[in-house]
């Protein structure tokens, strides 16, 4: 099987359906649940289909863009790829280490220093302390935070924590990198360095999935794109073509 692995796409998504329960109010209390159970009421929660049968592959060295209006299913797709959600139906197969760049900074603990967060995040990505010690200086240097690494993250600007997050996620050397729109937080110079790093990443055969509202970036950075609407893929093709279709009004929430 090893010989085949070069041609088999590392990301394979097949007929994925993702349903959520619509939790209308806040969660039920245990008391209410017991009373309902005693009365013999069975509440069937309403289901909401966030994804309705999507399939795609991403090849080695390919950058795939996922675009669509709010609520089209982009974030759900991302979380499925990250492995934090389990699809209701269908299958998702990913080879190698996946690293997510979603909601950076949200994962950081504000009370801990930047350095402490680097080690904690490294462990969350599955690295040992010894491995992280080898990466530490490089990560801090890329983020440009040498002077602030012992300061609690709560005193960081949003740009600083995003920089640290990006430096971390790309230095852990994933096989598949999943990027939400986070890079926009840094300044122009940092953004340029991010794209430079991601480009080299792709050239070394790594796979990138990019979710963004930033159509210009998708057009310039991605090879291929998928346009989602109400949890379905309504257009798939070259980034150029799909972005153009979206810009012409296809897939807008009201279309």
């Amino acid at each position: 099987m090893k010989t085949a692995s070069a041609s088999v796409p590392p990301v394979r998504v097949r007929d994925v359906v993702m349903e959520f329960r619509l939790v209308r109010e806040s969660r039920l209390s245990l008391k209410e649940a017991l009373i309902r159970a005693l009365r013999g009421e069975r509440t069937r929660p309403e289901q909401f289909r966030a994804l309705d049968g999507i399939s795609f592959d991403v090849a080695h060295g390919e950058a795939l863009g996922i675009i669509g209006a709010n609520g089209s299913g982009k974030t759900t797709t991302l979380r499925l790829l990250a492995g934090v959600l389990r699809p209701t139906e269908g299958s998702i197969e990913i080879e190698g280490r996946v690293t997510t760049l979603i909601d950076l900074g949200a994962g950081f603990n504000p009370e801990l220093s930047g350095g402490e967060n680097v080690y904690l995040a490294g462990a969350l990505y599955g690295f040992s302390q010894a491995e992280m010690r080898g990466k530490f200086d490089r990560i801090v240097a890329f983020a440009g935070l040498e002077k602030f690494i012992d300061v609690p993250v709560k005193n960081y600007s949003s740009g600083m924590s995003a920089r640290l997050g990006f430096a971390l996620a790309t230095d852990v050397d994933p096989d598949v990198l999943i990027v939400d729109e986070v890079i926009g937080v840094g300044d122009a110079e940092f953004q340029a360095r991010c794209f430079d790093r991601m480009r080299r990443f792709r050239e070394s055969g790594k796979t990138i999935v990019f979710v963004s509202h930033d159509l210009a970036t998708v057009r310039s950075f991605c090879d291929r794109a998928i346009l989602l609407r109400h949890g379905r893929s309504i257009r798939e093709g070259s980034a150029e073509e799909v972005v153009a279709a979206y810009e012409s009004g296809l897939g807008r929430a009201d279309s």
């Binding site: 959520f20 329960r21 939790v23 806040s26 969660r27 039920l28 209390s29 245990l30 008391k31 649940a33 979380r79 990250a82 492995g83 934090v84 959600l85 389990r86 996946v98 997510t100 979603i102 909601d103 949200a106 994962g107 603990n109 009370e111 801990l112 402490e116 080690y119 904690l120 462990a123 969350l124 990505y125 599955g126 690295f127 040992s128 302390q129």
Partner: protein, 259 residues
């Protein structure tokens, strides 16, 4: 069960960092730092001793050692349960973004309280020296008792942290329940004080098998009865197995309910 445990073992570096994080955050803001872990039970002990030995005139020799030796394991259990129930809810943003064995958060929290318990044993030994209650070889059972206590508590916390995701009032119910359980467990009174028949009923409380041995080792200076230790071991394994089973059956739904 073996699968969950080996997965947790692979992430032991993360577990260790999470435990360190808990401890750091708990004490970073306080002037006394880690000393607080040791002072807190001492102060509680002084209050309880004043009330029970001097106001209510309970006749128990070396009351401070008597009460502290049972209070420490009880505090470990109660604080782990209160804090542990909320671990999944509190770590929502991490669970949303990173794929880790989710059980690591409740396990790490219980373990951080175990470190606290170990630190709090130091003032207990000091009080014993001061009052002339020497440590006896009965303490040889201490590692076993600590392990059993940790295992039992982790199982309970795994169940409660799961339920807290689905029902928002679990934390309040737990609090009331713990208050009742505190009085049902012989912490501030000796089990021997109860009439024979009542004692049999009180022995149905599983927590008793994890608190009582500490008093027997530290205060009475004897190795707990083998049958009691065996019961504690059995309860601990049953609790952990149940906890992991409940947690694993529900964990893929956590993100559907956290919002």
């Amino acid at each position: 069960m073996r699968n969950s445990l080996s997965e947790l073992w692979r992430y032991r570096d993360l577990a260790r960092l999470l435990v360190a994080k808990e401890l750091k955050l708990r004490y970073r803001r306080s002037v006394l730092g880690f000393a607080w872990t040791m002072l807190n039970p001492l102060l509680t002990m002084i209050i309880l001793s004043a009330v029970f030995a001097h106001v209510l005139r309970v006749q128990v020799e070396h009351f401070p050692v008597f009460v502290l030796s049972a209070l420490l394991p009880w505090n470990f259990f109660a604080q782990s349960v209160v804090g542990g129930s909320l671990t999944i809810v509190h770590n929502e943003s991490l669970l949303r973004n990173v794929r880790v064995p989710r059980a690591i958060f409740p396990v790490a929290l219980v373990t951080s309280h175990l470190v606290n318990l170990l630190l709090a044993l130091v003032p207990l030994l000091l009080v014993m020296m001061v009052l002339g209650v020497p440590p006896k070889p009965g303490l040889i059972a201490l590692p076993y008792c600590l392990l059993a206590l940790w295992t039992f508590t982790t199982g309970v916390v795994l169940v409660l942290s799961t339920w807290t995701v689905f029902f928002r009032d679990v934390a309040q119910i737990v609090e009331v329940f713990l208050t009742a359980l505190f009085y049902l467990t012989p912490v501030i009174y000796p089990l021997s004080m109860l009439p024979e028949r009542t004692r049999a009923v009180f022995r149905l409380n599983p927590v008793l098998y994890f608190v009582e041995p500490f008093r027997q080792m530290f205060y009475e200076g004897r190795i707990p009865a083998a049958t009691d230790l065996a019961i504690a071991g059995g309860l601990a394994i049953a609790s952990l197995a149940l906890g992991l089973a409940v947690f694993r059956r529900r964990e893929h739904l956590f993100l559907h309910y956290l919002s």
